[in-house]
């Protein structure tokens, strides 16, 4: 199985600052990684993914970095906005086996 951990259960950042959310995983066979965002009262939603043949992928205001050597990935959010306040989960796995989620990091954006 997979063991997934997030380094910080909570994170507070000032509006406009950059946020970094970290995630460690245990299974070196994991080759695909997804970050989900869960807003209050809603189910998790996909925000960005990365495959193991990459070490960086950028989206709109979000960047995911993958370090397979130490089995670590991070989600960076640029110019954090109040709408970014949510719980963020990383989900490492393989195609057809992406069922493990971390405990989540709750991001609070301070106006």
């Amino acid at each position: 199985g997979e063991s997934v951990g997030l380094h910080l259960p909570t994170l507070s950042v000032q509006e406009g600052d950059n946020s970094i959310i970290n995630c460690a995983y245990s299974n070196s066979a994991s080759d695909y990684f997804i970050w989900y965002k869960q807003e209050s009262g809603k189910g998790p939603q996909f925000i960005i993914d990365i495959r193991s043949n990459m070490d960086k992928r950028q989206g709109q205001r979000v960047t995911v970095l993958l370090n397979k050597t130490v089995k670590h990935l991070s989600l960076q959010i640029a110019a954090t906005q109040p709408g970014d306040s949510a719980v963020y989960f990383c989900a490492p796995g393989n195609t057809g086996n992406q069922f493990y989620f971390g405990t989540g990091t709750s991001l609070t954006v301070i106006p």
């Binding site: 997804i34 009262g41 189910g43 996909f46 989960f89 796995g93 195609t95 057809g96 069922f99 989620f101």
Partner: protein, 113 residues
């Protein structure tokens, strides 16, 4: 857009009651999942189904059963609810096992008294 709906947002039941949680997806997805979400524990997989009438146990199936009689509908059943089953229950679906991104419903917050 994929839509995954769950029958109730909030549910209060008594210990020993039989509880049905319903999930429906409207995009003809093959695979459906039930998770429970608890503070400090994240999402844990209870059961999943990769086809009609097929089911597989996840990490924490004890105390639960599931039913998939139609492709669009996946039901989670608590045969005799207990207080330790008080939780947020999330349903998800994906088109097939070659896909990874899961589409989640809004969740059902179940309280067992």
């Amino acid at each position: 857009d994929v839509k995954v709906t769950q029958s109730s947002r909030y549910l209060v039941k008594r210990t020993g009651e039989k509880v049905f949680l319903e999930c429906v997806q409207d995009m003809d997805h093959e695979n459906m999942f039930w998770y429970r979400q608890d503070p400090g524990l994240g999402l844990r997989l209870i059961y999943f189904s990769y086809d009609v009438k097929m089911k597989e146990k996840g990490d924490i199936p004890e105390g639960y059963s599931v039913s998939r009689e139609k492709k669009e509908r996946f039901s989670l059943i608590l045969e005799s609810a207990s207080t330790n089953q008080t939780s947020m229950y999330l349903c998800a679906s994906i088109p097939g096992l070659s896909y990874n991104e899961q589409f989640f419903g809004p969740g059902t917050r179940l309280t067992v008294l």
